[in-house]
Symmetry: none
Subunit: 212 residues, 4 copies
Amino acid sequence: MSVMNEKKSLSRAERQKIQLRTDIIETASAEFAERGYHQTSISDIAQRLGIGHGTFYRHFKNKRDILDHVIDDVSSKIANTLLNENAPGAVNSLDDYREQCLRISKQLANIVRDNPNTARLVLLEATSIDPEMTQRIMGFFDWAAKLVSAYMEHGVKLGFFREDLDAEATGHVIVGLIMTSALSFLRSPDDKAMQKRMADAVLRILVDGIGA
Amino acid sequence: MSVMNEKKSLSRAERQKIQLRTDIIETASAEFAERGYHQTSISDIAQRLGIGHGTFYRHFKNKRDILDHVIDDVSSKIANTLLNENAPGAVNSLDDYREQCLRISKQLANIVRDNPNTARLVLLEATSIDPEMTQRIMGFFDWAAKLVSAYMEHGVKLGFFREDLDAEATGHVIVGLIMTSALSFLRSPDDKAMQKRMADAVLRILVDGIGA
Amino acid sequence: MSVMNEKKSLSRAERQKIQLRTDIIETASAEFAERGYHQTSISDIAQRLGIGHGTFYRHFKNKRDILDHVIDDVSSKIANTLLNENAPGAVNSLDDYREQCLRISKQLANIVRDNPNTARLVLLEATSIDPEMTQRIMGFFDWAAKLVSAYMEHGVKLGFFREDLDAEATGHVIVGLIMTSALSFLRSPDDKAMQKRMADAVLRILVDGIGA
Amino acid sequence: MSVMNEKKSLSRAERQKIQLRTDIIETASAEFAERGYHQTSISDIAQRLGIGHGTFYRHFKNKRDILDHVIDDVSSKIANTLLNENAPGAVNSLDDYREQCLRISKQLANIVRDNPNTARLVLLEATSIDPEMTQRIMGFFDWAAKLVSAYMEHGVKLGFFREDLDAEATGHVIVGLIMTSALSFLRSPDDKAMQKRMADAVLRILVDGIGA
DNA sequence: GATGAATGAGGTTTCATTCAT
DNA sequence: AATGAATGAAACCTCATTCAT
């Protein structure tokens, strides 16, 4: 059997197993987001999926375990977006930067729009499970801040950002702004106008500040 | 006993009762923040206070009830700070505004520093209890955003903010920045240097943006 | 102080104490009947009376204790009625007997009408408290049955009851009929017509049976 | 496996489940009757059965729920007896009626003898649980009274009951007599002689009254 | 003597997890 | 491999009773 086939020719059973695993993660994510982690029982998830609740334990160690996987999922999704869309070398002017910001923010907006549950889970639920999870979420924010910092530094070096810009701190601030936008979206997912105004306000603040 | 004294001279029993009530709120707040709302049992709170757990129920209807009171407490504290420190008429230039921002942010920083538990509770725990509480927290943020918006509009009128500033959206963004700062503080409460850098970064962004 | 005065000249305090005791019994009786013994808390009784619930324990040993007193009250009331109204020697014919039955049943009906709560308490609640109380209620019924039996025997001796009448068993049956009537009253206290029909039906059965 | 067998051949698991359910009802019934509903905890029932108390909740929604099922059980048992044994058309004389009374009372006596717990539960406990349950018990008595009334009317029509018999009221009275007998049995289940005397006394009263 | 604050035993119920089928 | 019956830890909450004021 060729290497190429190895991935394709999973047995039907194996494919089903992987599919179920994915289904469980998605359903769990939805339930956790809708009802809250503590208010969701394993039975709730199983019932929604139409499987026996014992089956859950064939795929995940315990209730806490699945949360890790749910967070894994969304983390890598966001991380990929940021990494793919950010080509530091490609940005050579404030305008380029603005372009890139717009592009990234649209991507992130899409992720949030397509996965409101996971966004809600990360921003509203996950920080209350236990210290480890809180740490993880914070760590992810830190990672994102670091990434942003690198771009800040690049921009400072190239001279289209203020020379005295505190790249690290500003990175954190920008991540905070992104989360604020996401939160705002979650509050009124259908108010497109407000979403655009928020995005614009953030961008204008970043580029021009609020001063006259 | 004079009429004037009547209010001061609560009976010893009454004073003790009020004191215990306050103690319970504080202890509950601490436990909720440290271990999380769901991980904290009424017995935990009672034990830490050295009282019987039945005593708790003489002062609060149930577990959920005390959360409301804890949130009440911190809400009014923050609201008072914002209302007292903000004298819209007094701000007549960008410099005045910067001054006021510094003053308010210091006040808020103090609140967060003095009540890290409640801050942690509001920012990390409260949004996962139930929809009502989430709504309440969000509503509080909205209220703060409205307040900030009013100042933005004032500044626009007086001409020291950009004429095309979207006051409402910007209000939300600024509240988001404040929360980001608070969250940052909670992550490393002892890193004064970082706290100052964050505050500066926020202020600089607001005043100047990040552009060169 | 004369013997006569001893009863009259209780101190004000003593009179108040006795009054409160009576009030507690009455209120407890009402609450027990309305909400049920187990569903009624000492606080409920105290609150309804407008006294502190600690005060209760100055007058009664515990919750169970008051039930005994409530039952005492109603027992002696009923017992007195039966004893006073029944003058065995006075009944010398079936018609006399019918008269007496009517008289007694009216008296009992009055008691039940005036104390529906205690009736409800005895018939519906008291037998579920504990074996002792059940025993007591049953014992009271037995006592009443004995009393009735004596009259039966008297009537048999005088020849206006069947010679082969089983006085003891019939006594029990008649007490059962009385309780049935009382229960019927409790179900629809305002349906006077039905009450009369029940009383008539009982009387006719006793005197004539149901046969043609 | 044939289609016919499908209904009979419940899986072993299903049969066990139904068996346990029945066992729980019986044990609960016994405990409620022996110790009283309020004095019985779910743990008591579970312990007596040798199961974990959580298991109880897999079969019944809550403590109140099982009471309903227990009452369901006994209600339908009694109802069936009355309905099966009563063939209105078959009774055409007072003697026939006396025969039928004897037959029915024996059947009921058997039920009470075989299920003293449920009898005790219905007569002594159930009326103190809550208004709904009291209503239910009373409603059942009403239903039985209606049934008896129908027979009374039949007898009046055929002329072997008094023409002026108040069928409805008498129906209630007779149900009361039945309950009185049952109660008497519960007091001394082993005194067969007394039970016979009670039954005879009731029958004689019904047929002949007590007069000479 | 009256009060009501404090207490904790005791009860109900939920649900994550295990394991026999 | 899937199931769901069984389990009991653990939480919430009530309330009879005590006792200091």
